[in-house]
């Protein structure tokens, strides 16, 4: 039984805005299947007494005080943008949902 189907890979590609061709889907589906199967082996050693974790550090409750720090000057903030207009980031027209 495969860990991930070709359809699922196509769905993920669409969600990630990756334009994958048919060949690439075949190729990646097989590869991803192998990768997931390999990672799944972790479950063989992860017994009940080992909680799933999302973070490498044994820390919680790290907060900062509510203090204002300097922001970037707008020209610097916009400096790396492909396009800017009226001190705003200019982006291609947005299709679909109304903001």
């Amino acid at each position: 039984m495969t860990a991930i189907t070709r359809d699922e890979v196509a769905h993920l590609a669409r969600l990630s805005r990756l334009a994958l061709g048919e060949d690439e889907l075949d190729h990646l589906a097989a590869q991803l299947d192998q990768i997931i199967s390999a990672v799944a082996r972790v479950q063989e050693v992860a017994a009940q007494d080992i909680p799933p974790t999302s973070h490498a550090l044994p820390l919680s409750n790290v907060y900062r005080a509510d203090e204002v720090r300097p922001s970037l000057p707008p020209e610097q903030a916009l400096g790396g943008a492909p396009a800017a207009e009226e001190q705003r980031f200019r982006v291609p027209r947005i299709l679909g949902e109304e903001a």
Partner: protein, 500 residues
């Protein structure tokens, strides 16, 4: 916009039972953003409150704002929620340029606050609104659509984005399904939004200004045929940005969905957009193409585990909440349920309380705000609180009435002057010469004149018909332009005519 088939509201609610849900987003009023130190000032020039963290630049790392976490826990506690002992942030992944990171930091299956309730009242009946969850997230940037006819996204050529708002702490409050409201559904939805706004305002964690977007509601509505227990397909109406619109949006969706169902059609599960101008909704994104946000625990932030000591400390710090406050003033001011409701609905509670603090009696304070000043606010089409008169000024006018320096008629003229920007009450009194005439010498001359002008009436009074004296008091009031002390004038008239 296509023409919408609607069913008459009364018929709709007689045939179908609405089920509601409300999702509310509230921006917290912290000085800095949720995960970075950028300022949160409303209306700042575009992209002047941005930094590597909120722009999602490589290598930047977020750190949660402690004041925001305190704010959401206070909201959770005030809504009678359980506060999670341990929970995490999650990444909500999507491609839309309102977030420069391509994801929004939010919470998914581990919200900070769960399972609360808020009681709201409509027409004397209490509805307990269940709270499903309250979670912490960050606000998005603001887009301006350029090239379209109306600044709307349709037909736009390109969009311009300002990220000042991106990263401002945002609390999302989600109700459980609200059932059993029947024809009151739109009012219950509005009452809930109103009560929630009052509650958050009392907590002092947000300015909750719907017109500025610091509180925004999405309303879910579905209908089921009366007698059925099978819920219908729901729609989610976004962009509902005033209390009145919450009511109108629910009402409109009930009328629209009822028409669809009655004609044998099916309600489409979709996002709809509310239009303030027409009070209608139009279809947006269909849930069939619902986004898969690929949520996963946020690796850049560590879990939150609010200690029980901290939570109890925050609970102890909660101010008097609106419901308790209303019960207190009702008792202190000796109001009936109906009188209290009128005061609350008029937005006069704060004003009356401040006026009482400034020295007026509750009855007098309520009289001025609920009658004369409410009338003038209505005339001018503004909220009571936005009238250019302060509680201290109202208290001062009442002080002059209590001292016998003004009667009600003159007091109304003083308010007219204050509202017209002629200064504070004492200045208006002086400038307009509004002091009451109670000086006996001056008043006696006017009384003599009134008696001389009305010999028939005077004779009747002399003959024992004391009630007839009213006509003479009226003459005195006319002669003084309403400035006479009516009680003193009456006394003088009766003395002079030997009828006292």
């Amino acid at each position: 916009m296509s023409t919408l088939a609607l069913m008459d509201y009364d018929e709709a609610v007689s045939r179908y039972e609405p089920v509601l849900g409300v999702e509310t987003h509230i921006e917290l009023g912290t000085a800095s953003k949720m995960f970075c130190g950028c300022a949160t000032t409303f209306g700042a020039p575009p992209n002047t409150q941005v930094c590597p963290v909120c722009l999602g630049l490589p290598g930047a790392l977020p750190v949660a704002n402690r004041a925001a976490i305190e704010g959401i826990i206070k909201i959770g506690l005030a809504l009678n929620c359980e506060i999670a002992e341990w929970c995490r942030f999650a990444r909500k992944n999507y491609f839309y340029p309102d977030m420069p990171k391509n994801y929004q930091i939010s919470q998914y299956d581990e919200p900070l606050c769960v399972d609360g309730h808020l009681d709201v009242e409509v027409d004397g009946e209490t509805y307990r609104i269940g709270i499903e969850r309250v979670h912490m997230e960050e606000d998005t940037g603001k887009s301006m659509h350029v090239g379209g006819a109306t600044g709307r996204i349709q037909g736009a050529d390109h969009s311009l984005v300002d990220y000042n708002r991106a990263g401002i702490p945002l609390v999302e409050i989600v109700t459980k399904p609200i059932t059993g409201t029947g024809d009151k559904a739109p009012l219950v939805a509005r009452a809930y939004a109103t009560e929630l706004r009052e509650l958050v305002r009392a907590l002092g964690v947000s300015d909750v200004r719907m017109e500025q977007g610091s509180m925004r509601c999405d309303v879910n509505v579905s209908l089921m045929p009366r007698g059925s227990s099978q819920w219908g397909t729901r729609t989610e109406t976004k962009n509902v940005n005033s209390l009145r619109s919450v009511e109108r949006a629910v009402r409109h969706e009930i009328e629209r969905q009822a028409a669809v169902l009655a004609s044998g059609g099916a309600v489409v599960q979709e996002t709809r957009h509310f239009h303030e101008d027409s009070g209608t909704t139009t279809a947006g994104r269909s849930k069939e193409e619902a986004q898969d946000y690929r949520y996963f625990p946020e690796p850049d932030l560590v879990p939150m585990a609010p200690s029980r000591e901290w939570v109890e400390e925050l609970r102890a710090s909660l101010p008097e909440l609106p419901a308790a406050r209303r019960r207190r003033v009702q008792r202190e001011w000796n109001l009936s349920d109906l009188e209290l409701r009128d005061v609350v609905n008029a937005g006069a509670l704060d004003l009356i309380e401040s006026t009482v603090k400034a020295g007026a009696s509750p009855a007098a304070a309520r009289k001025w705000w609920m009658n004369e000043l409410s009338r003038r606010a209505t005339e001018q089409g503004v909220e009571l609180a936005d009238l250019p008169v302060t509680p201290e000024q109202v208290a001062r006018v009442q002080e002059m009435v209590d001292a016998g320096e003004l009667n009600d008629k003159l007091a109304r003229q003083v308010f007219e002057g204050v509202l017209a920007g002629e200064g504070d009450p004492d200045q208006v009194v002086a400038a307009r010469g509004l002091k009451i005439v109670s000086d006996d010498g001056e008043l006696a001359a006017i009384v003599d004149q009134a008696i001389a002008d009305n010999p028939d009436v005077a004779d009747k009074v002399r003959g024992g018909k004391v009630a007839a004296a009213g006509a003479l008091v009226g003459a005195v009031m006319r002669a003084t332009g309403g400035k006479a002390d009516a009680a003193r004038a009456r006394q003088l008239i009766l003395e002079k005519l030997g009828a006292s």
